[in-house]
């Protein structure tokens, strides 16, 4: 019994981080209505700063786009080698700092991050729909995480402990004292926050703004300034718990970033309102996880499947199932719109041209380009899956790559272990992913927006720890062989022979197979956009209530969207598995899911043609390869830039590259036509059809909207109506 108690007390170490992050989540939600997925990343980032200052006296400079290296590259095309100054990765600030100074430096960074999040990202987004805010915070999470990987690499880092470690005897067991100091610290912090919110004018103003932003503004409360202060507080708090608890939990760029998931669970139980509930639940999750760990070891009847890792998901799922839409609304003003879902038409001649072009690259181009084309096409299939679920039906899913991983794993079991023939094995594998996807879609029946993002993120982590990493189901080995596909004796795997070419892996035969699969998926999704099913998804995205009243079976349409999207993700997963010839769980991690979401959103989440842009953003795809050939190798910067551009996209061009490109093509193309007509003396001003087809401009801008015709003679009958 003492052991169990001991482990529960030990678990308070991570519990305090969960609780501190949950407090910050509640603060920022109350202050500005944002669920900040990057909150764990703030803790992680500031802890790295602290550690770097204490150990080396160095302050890392966040990676910045250096225009000088761009110039170097361009000059390099002409054979001119110059060495312009690089931005240094660190500033040396004297000897290693003493811990109080380092703590101040790190907490100042944390507060600054909170402020910048608010000022540069969420304040400009305040009138945008929840989708944009979730996307931006996912972008921040990716960016901070990648910034640390760029500067400090992926390796775990030892953080100097500030709290005394000597054992304390409690109820017959010994526990390091730091747990109790941490517990005391978080409880004091909570009590202070509670008092501030109950007693001070600032707290009352925050509560008023949280209750109804519009009215609070009318009463002369600057919701904006209040939000800024709360963001700074939340940032400092995250930094503090991160630094204090890091010696206990360990520190690497990913683990503390993902502590956001249990913290989100705790904040959800607290309905993003109550500080005390958030803190107690956060602590309980920490203690519970630790308890489950020892129980898994001690008790033979508990299956050895990383149960402890699943606890946050259970908390989140139960909180949501019990409460439904748990995030309280804020009476906020919302005037942004969702990304426009412009239809993509099937244009047989154009498509034939591109298919032949891609096939030519796959057959004749050097193998790096062949490989890049294959990566692009597989990425585009994954993007199509998000276009269906997020672009069409409006549901955020952060687990798509995990679903792809399930299909990849199933493929290796079915095709290699069980010996199923080619089309059956991948199709069945994708169907298994579909089943999982529909299960993940069930919460979507009750929640959407940020809540759904939370639960799908947690589900992605659960798939990773339960299915991929545990010994229970998927046999725990991280890599498994996947046999090359073949049909009627013709092989078309990456190692298959091809009558032409350099004989390097991947084989052009595999490239053509991927091209075929992509084309199928592409046409299928275009067709979906045009079909009644697709229209109903868009109606659902626009307005769920009204869709139900108009006879749309909301339940079926949502599950259909999740099902179709998961099938596409599954196909993407099987193609990935074929490409590597193995199932490797490292290619289907949670960060991967977030990146896929980021790329898809960047490419154009609501237009089918956006999938090709998305595909070109994936690592080692055509777009990135071209960039690297022209300028400089991206390497670890890729994820960083993806996060950065994701944020920029939500801020300036929420519809993504595809719509931007269409609008510019229309503008430039039409401009050329006009110039040509002017030059040839043609006074015609009528627009050719293709102008509207590329990008239909809204015909009526604000202020010149059409009104119904007024019938004058009927006005008299109306006058009679008065009493």
């Amino acid at each position: 019994m003492e052991t169990y108690l001991q482990f529960m007390l030990l678990g308070l170490g991570s519990g305090v981080i969960f609780a501190g992050l949950a407090l910050g989540l509640v603060l920022t939600y109350r202050a500005s209505g944002v669920v900040n997925f990057a909150h764990g990343a703030i803790a992680m980032y500031s802890t790295y700063i602290f550690s770097s200052l204490v150990d080396d006296g160095q302050y890392p400079i966040p990676p910045l786009p250096n225009l000088l290296s761009m110039i170097e590259a361009v000059l390099g095309w002409f054979g001119i080698q110059v060495d312009l100054p690089d931005i240094p990765p660190f500033v040396q600030l004297g000897d290693p700092w003493s811990w109080p100074m380092a703590l101040i430096g790190a907490l100042a960074t944390a507060g600054l991050l909170g402020f910048l999040f608010h000022y540069l990202v969420f304040r400009p987004l305040r009138y945008q729909p929840p989708l944009s805010k979730v996307v931006a915070s996912v972008g921040l999470m990716l960016m901070l995480q990648a910034a640390i990987v760029v500067r400090f690499s992926n390796r775990p880092r030892n953080v100097a402990g500030l709290l005394p470690q000597d054992g304390v005897d409690v109820l017959g067991t010994t526990v390091p004292a730091d747990r109790f100091y941490l517990l005391a610290a978080i409880l004091v912090a909570t009590a202070l926050l509670y008092l501030v919110f109950q007693r001070t004018k600032f707290g009352i103003k925050t509560r008023a703004a949280a209750e109804n932003e519009q009215f609070a503004t009318l009463l002369g409360i600057s919701a904006d300034r209040i939000a800024a202060v709360n963001w700074i507080l939340a940032g400092i708090l995250a930094g503090l718990v991160g630094i204090l608890a890091a010696p206990i939990t360990g520190l690497n760029p990913l683990n503390m970033t993902l502590f956001i998931i249990p913290a989100l669970g705790a904040a959800l139980v607290a309905r993003f309102q109550s500080f005390w509930i958030a803190v107690w639940v956060g602590l309980a999750i920490g203690a519970g996880q630790s308890l489950l760990q020892i129980m898994e070891i001690r008790l033979p009847w508990i299956p050895d499947i990383n149960l402890s890792q699943g606890l946050p998901l259970v908390v989140i799922a139960v909180a949501m199932m019990a409460r439904g839409q748990v995030l309280p609304s804020r009476g906020a003003i919302e005037r942004g719109r969702l990304p426009m879902a412009l239809p993509t038409r099937i244009r047989p001649r154009l498509m034939t041209f591109w298919i032949l072009f891609a096939a030519a690259i796959l057959i004749w181009a050097p193998f790096v380009w062949r490989q890049a084309t294959i990566n692009t096409l597989i990425g585009a299939v994954l993007a199509l899956s998000l276009i269906v679920v997020t672009g069409f039906s409006g549901h955020i899913s952060l687990a798509q790559l995990s679903l792809a991983g399930i299909a990849a794993f199933m493929l290796s079991s079915l095709a290699t272990d069980a010996g199923w023939p080619f089309p059956l094995a991948p199709i069945f594998a994708a169907l298994v992913a579909t089943g999982f996807g529909i299960v993940i879609g069930v919460p979507a029946l009750r929640v959407r927006g940020a809540s759904l993002a939370i639960i799908t993120l947690a589900a992605g982590v659960a798939i990773e720890v339960f299915l991929f990493k545990s010994d229970g189901w998927f046999a725990g080995d991280s890599t498994r062989h996947v046999a090359d596909p073949s049909l009627f004796g013709i092989e078309f795997g990456p190692n298959s022979p091809f009558f032409f070419g350099d004989g390097k892996v991947p084989s052009p035969a595999f490239g053509l197979f991927v091209l075929f699969m992509f084309t199928l998926a592409f046409v299928a999704v275009i067709r979906l956009r045009q079909s009644m099913l697709g229209e109903q998804m868009l109606a659902l995205r626009a307005n769920e209530r009204a869709a139900a009243a108009a006879g749309v079976n909301v339940t079926s349409i949502k599950l259909a969207a999740f099902g179709i999207a998961s099938f596409l993700a599954g196909i993407g997963g099987t193609l990935t598995a074929y490409k590597f010839g193995t199932f490797n769980m490292a290619s289907f991690g949670v960060l991967g899911s977030l990146s896929v979401f980021a790329f898809s959103y960047l490419g154009g989440i609501a237009t089918v043609s956006g999938s090709l842009y998305a595909g070109s953003l994936f690592p080692e795809s055509i777009g990135t390869l071209a960039f690297e050939k022209l300028f400089f190798p991206l390497g670890r910067y890729e994820a960083y830039l993806a996060g950065l551009f994701l944020i920029v996209t939500t801020l300036v061009q929420p519809e993504g590259i595809d719509v931007f490109d269409r609008r510019e093509r229309r503008r430039i193309g039409w401009g050329f036509v006009l110039l040509w007509r002017k030059a040839t003396g043609n006074p015609d001003r009528t627009k050719p059809d293709w102008v509207e087809r590329i990008y239909p401009e809204p015909k009526h801008k604000k202020g010149m909207r059409p009104s119904p015709p007024a019938t004058v003679d009927a006005a008299t009958t109306h006058e009679d109506g008065g009493s």
């Binding site: 109606a539 108009a550 006879g551 079976n553 059409p706 009104s707 019938t711 109506g721 008065g722």
Partner: protein
Amino acid sequence: MKPVLHTEDLTVAFGGVKACNGISLDVYEGELLGLIGPNGAGKTTFINAVTGFVPWSGEVQFDGSSLKGLPPHRIAHRGLSRTWQSLELFGDISVRANLEVAATKLTPMMAIRDYFGSSERVAERVDETLAVLEMEDIVDERPDDLSMGYRKLVGVARALVAQTKLVLLDEPAAGLDRNETTWLAERLRQVIDFGISVLLVDHDMGLVLNVSDRIHVIDFGKTIAIGSPSEIRDNEAVIGAYLGAGGGDE
């Protein structure tokens, strides 16, 4: 004549507050029934209850069968549709798509057949509705880009385009100017001529008194008067509760 909608003792309680307290009313076939009452009388709650958006007790019969426990989309499929005070259009898909969604009762089989391009679209019914409501020139616009008057009209069109027997209109004239209201009144009479019954909830007394066949007045969730427009105009209880000392808002 038999009622197309029959409610008996319809009660909706939010906690201790009874937003609708035993409302019994009938809408007959081919009739335009006005439902009026002061703010907070329970008019919108009544519509929400009948269309399946809030739980209720009592009895609601539509077209001879009970609506108890049916989800909103099933009620819509039976031919009972509604508009919203706050419009709630599908703002970012075209007007035509707005109507197509409402006109379709999508079954899985039908979705599959439609996907593979072999099912008859509802285009005809959509075109017909667009023609009746004189809105052919806005079919390709998105509702977000339209004026308030047209948006209201899209809402009405969306409610009518399904094989509708009865449409519940929640404040269709709110936010419209006098010309637009007059124009709307004409369209409503046209709707009746097509054999669709209408339950009209509005604050514009002029509009309601003008176009309704009968009027049902509620206050504090209870019926206080039923009768023809002229009877309602002279009813003491109604004047007391609704028109107040001012004697009308027109």
